[in-house]
Symmetry: C2
Subunit: 328 residues, 2 copies
């Protein structure tokens, strides 16, 4: 056997063993991997649950993302959804569907990325269960669970006119990273090629890291809830689109100050995948880590305003509308 075998050459049990020796055991897991289901401790009468999938093609390219990157990102995007409810992530379940020619070293790196993202972004959270399946398309479907520690969840619908609108985390950096990849690391036919470090410019590394291994402010989710956040959500599809969703759910309009969006307001408004936390608070001062970007106002014709004027930009990413399997 090749010293780095493919998953098709190994049994399911052997692949699983190699994953589990990396992901370890959840501190929050009363019963971890190895049975029909995991059992996760819950401190109060509710559990927060969310699922988000990364699919080869629309969500990532193997020329650009390592196994480690994909493990990290698939954890991070789900942890961010838990944090956006004001909850503390406690456990991940990971369903991996992989082509038979996937190298086991790739799967091991993916497991390392999952573990390291949990350790760095949500200490105490770990992989407690999962599923392995063969597929023609590499697919990583993660479910994250979280604990509200007795608090009410912070939904999208609690913003009221007069609330301060705030952000924790980056805006537009992940999209800049994606632009670096699309603009400079494809061959003449548009096919992705690996990143050549010699061709990176100042700022590229940070942008690529934001795209490939995002570091959303997970710990600030429960922190914002304790500080009285009235509404909160994860900015995954761009600030303009996600602010519109919050405005619609809360029956307010959200007026964003363009001067609060840094030196590239257009990227900050339209760029997706940063997984910043968008939250509203009754008043300042804000909990540390959050910065003011605008204000909720009485509901008007436009759900989102920028500098007091209705925002008419394209408004973010839709996987069905925007992805063309034949491109890129």
């Amino acid at each position: 056997m090749h010293e780095d075998p493919t998953v098709g050459e190994l049994s399911e049990g052997e692949i699983l063993r190699r994953i589990l020796e990396r992901t370890g055991r959840a501190s929050a897991g009363l019963l971890g991997p190895g049975d029909d289901a995991a059992v996760v401790a819950v401190s109060s009468g509710a559990v927060v649950a969310t699922t988000d999938t990364l699919v080869h093609g629309p969500d990532f390219r193997l020329a650009w993302s390592s196994g480690y990157d994909l493990g990290w990102k698939s954890a991070a995007v789900n942890l961010a959804d838990v944090a956006a409810m004001g909850a503390r992530p406690t456990a991940l379940l990971v369903a991996l569907a992989m082509p038979n020619d996937t190298r086991v070293s790739f799967v091991e790196a993916l497991a390392d990325g999952l573990r390291d993202a949990c350790d760095a972004l949500a200490p105490g959270c770990a992989v407690v269960g999962g599923d392995l399946t063969a597929s023609d398309t590499l697919t990583i479907a993660v479910t994250a669970l979280g604990d509200l520690d007795g608090r009410a969840p912070v939904t999208r619908s609690g913003a009221r006119a007069g609330d301060v609108v705030a952000i924790a985390g980056e805006l537009g950096r992940a999209a800049s990273g994606l632009a670096v990849l699309f603009d400079r690391f494809r061959d003449p036919d548009g096919v992705p090629v690996p990143v050549d470090p010699a061709r990176l410019r100042p700022g590229d590394v940070g942008a690529l890291e934001a795209q490939l291994r995002p570091v959303p402010p997970i710990g600030l989710g429960p922190f914002a809830a304790l500080a009285g956040a009235t509404a909160m959500m994860d900015v995954s599809d761009g600030l303009a689109l996600d602010a519109r969703r919050m405005a619609d759910a809360s029956a307010v309009s959200i007026d964003i100050d363009p001067l609060a969006l840094g030196d590239d307001p257009a990227s900050a408004l339209e760029g997706g995948e940063d997984h910043a936390l968008l939250a509203t608070f009754r008043k300042e001062p804000l909990p540390s880590g959050f910065r003011v970007i605008g204000r909720a106002v009485e509901r008007g014709d436009a759900p989102v305003l920028v500098g007091g004027r209705p925002y008419g930009g394209p408004g973010g990413w839709d996987p069905y509308r925007d992805w063309d399997a034949s491109g890129g």
Copy 2:
């Protein structure tokens, strides 16, 4: 627009709306779909969580399975894993990755199947969240949550020598259904073709239903836990393989009585996907719905015995070892 549009012609929001108007709202969901994460009620200090994925190719063929079948089966196989812990299923999260040319009517039927399986197999359980992604390979990744209602989970490791080994549900029927499909509903090149009702023989309908829309005994999971089950698991990969897993986890051997396996013991031992419940109890009488199929004995060289003799059959299905993308 075509009156049955593809998912690529609609926005993510519109596809989601059509799914949610079918799956409805979870009674156990304190907060259902529409926010970053769902919030599910938990009656005690723990939640049971499991994930299982159906992938086009290794797990199903669209010539044989309707959208409704796939919704039903993807719910049923996950509900069975929750029940096998002795827990009551409370919520499903559904990650759908679909080609852009998938018809919306197919997605709607899938949502109907998810809802109907919950209503029929686990009343009170419903879809509380999910994710939509574009993919070249139709993939349905479901996570199920469950409530132990204050009981300890029933694991695979609690069987002791002398325990009665019992089954609730079918053995070998789903595999018979798969054999009907593979043997009689493929064209000369081995490509699946739709089932022609005129070519069905007596017994085929029940076998096909067991394969395509399994009805595992979900309610008997918590019931067995209350009745003192010492170990329990879902038989998804065939009795021989799954009994070996229980025997290994419990450090016993399991001696199966071939006369208890019906008129086709080989199918009962090797056929997968029935999602029967395999459980052990200290003594008879068993809770209704379970029947004796053997006994746990002191651990010997062979983890599984049949009629007192070591079992040397192939031992069940492994997706990486057994699936050949080029076949069937």
